[in-house]
Amino acid sequence: MPSIHPFTSLFGRLSIGIALVTILAVTALFFLANGIVKAETERQISSAVDTDIAGLADIYVSGGQAELVERLRDRIGMIRQSGASDHYLLADGTGKPIAGNLSQWPELSSENSESGFISIPVQGEIFARATQLAPNLKLVVGWNLANRDRLLAQLRIAFLIAGLIMVALVVGLGWWSSRRLRIRLAAINAAFRRIGQGQFDARVDIDNRGDELDELSRHTNEMVSRVTNLVNAHKDISDHTAHELRTPLMHLDNRLVSALHDIPEPDQKIGLIKARADIKNIISLLDSLLDIASSNAKKGDRAGLSEINLSEIARDMADLYSESAEELEIAFEHAIAPDVTMIGEASHIQRIISNLLDNAFKYSPKGSSVSLSVQPGPLIRVRDNGPGVPENMREKIFNRFTRLKSTNASGHGLGLALSKALAARNGLIIRCHDADPGAIFEVTMDRDI
């Protein structure tokens, strides 16, 4: 059973697609959550800084600069004990530090009560606001972002874990459901494959889940049943036609044989002998028609075909016909490339070559030449120097019962039609060309099958 590569399988691609979409969705969701959390924590920090700076401004108003310096020292002392890391700087109009734990005035305008993120040594980025307490006194209060960063780190870890779990779940679920689907579809595919190989009893098991695949399986089985009936009916008709016609013909032939036995005069015998030959002709006509019908019905069906050595077959046929050529005084040449192989049925190919050679010899006058060549591809070519085929007949001669009017050759006009049907059964096509003088018949792969 040919298996489909996971990356080409519909389900493999579907699983990969779903996993990618999940990763994308989780990533987008993470950025959204990250943005919200960041904005919210920053808003909280900003509002805490505002509250702090307002409190300190009140202290300055009520207690003056000395009181403020005292309080700032207390706070910084508490900061050291608690390990928190808030930042203060009280400076004069030029930015020269008076009190606090920041070494220099940041890039913030106190007149505008500006706030923003600033960088300080060791601590890195903090959020700070500056304010002008008096014409020659300004204050900056800064809070670090440890809270925000901790929250964001937690969020990242949470999303990473959740994302991994989701992708694993989706991939697992996808794998499991696609495996189930694959198994059920593989059963349908296997049934078709078996039917293709000629096992018409193949049926798909129905799960009875009432889903789409059940419906597909049911339709498949119905179709297979109908095709089986048609194939059997076709075989039945052809077998019975052949049987029911041949049996009375055989009785007729037996009577002719008895009559031949009883009649002593040679003159009278000739008529009976001809009648027997006619019976043989009718039977061969019937067989050819049935062979054409059967080959046409099996066109495209690879069952029963196997790798065959075309070169060997062609060599044997050339060998068989070379004696006839000598007797007919026709120069017969053959150029057969070694080890040309193809997928086909040997007896069909033998018959095609035999029909083409029969025709070539039949239509070639004494002293002319016939050639058979085989090349890889495969390409089988039979060429003669006979009267050739008029251009408007080069396709028609492959139709049943079509014969060239200019010739009076025997036969029932089915040889080329049968060759064409046999060729099609083997994935080949026969074309007729002008050999100037004569005709060329070329058998090649039919790309349309």
Binding site: R246, L290, S347, S354
Partner: protein, 227 residues
């Protein structure tokens, strides 16, 4: 050769008569069964040298019968005599396990020749390295032909043909047997390629010698004669 015991399973009475007449003249005895069930029973109940089997019987197909026979361990050679004569039908029959396939209508000589050849093949004649018949010798391994001690140069295919005649020396060999066994063809080419090829071998073996060794049997084929 003493007469063969033949079982003929066939629903058509006229065919049965024809076969019986042909084989009786040839010195064999024929038991006739008119349907598959009866035929299978008869085949199991007594010993036969050969079975002639119709392809389409009212109660079962010849293909089913051959399957049942082989299943039951009956390994008697079977000649299928059938109204279905297309290559496809022949291959089906041979694939099903019949030993030879002959289509109706047939020549009496062809039927007798096939029955004889099939019996010969089944009785397993030892194939020696050298076959001698009359004044002819066929050296299988060396692939050489001699007549009256004189080497006859043959092409590879001519040698195959000669060997086949020597292996079946003295018996009627039909064109269809030659097509199938020497050229491996399951159909009859429109032209007389077989006659032409036999004619050439005949000239090589007869020219310059006294006495014809090939006898042409009208309506059937050829026979190799001892000189």
């Amino acid at each position: 050769m003493t007469g063969l015991k033949i079982l003929h399973i066939e629903d058509d009475e006229q065919t049965a008569e024809t076969v019986r007449d042909s084989m009786t003249i040839a010195g064999d005895s024929v038991t006739w069964s008119s349907n598959g069930t009866d035929g299978l029973r008869t085949a199991a109940s007594s010993e036969f040298d050969l079975i002639i089997l119709d392809r389409m019987l009212p109660d079962m197909s010849g293909i089913d019968i051959i399957g049942k026979l082989r299943e039951a361990g009956v390994d008697v050679p079977v000649l299928m005599l059938s109204a279905l004569g297309r290559t496809e039908n022949r291959i089906e029959g041979l694939d099903a396990g019949v030993d030879d396939y002959l289509t109706k209508p047939f020549e009496h000589e062809e039927l007798i020749a096939r029955v004889r050849a099939l019996h010969r093949r089944a009785s397993g004649q030892a194939h020696s390295a050298v076959i001698i018949f009359g004044d002819m010798e066929c050296h299988i391994k060396a692939r050489t032909a001699h007549r009256q001690g004189q080497h006859i140069a043959l092409s590879p295919k001519e040698f195959e043909l000669f060997k086949y005649f020597m292996q079946n020396a003295g018996e009627v060999i039909t064109r269809e047997m030659l097509l199938r066994d020497v050229w491996n063809l399951n159909f009859d080419p429109q032209t007389n390629v077989i006659d032409v090829n036999v004619g050439r071998l005949r000239r090589k073996l007869e020219d310059g010698f006294d006495g014809a060794i090939f006898e042409t049997i009208w309506g059937a084929g050829y026979r190799l004669l001892a000189r």
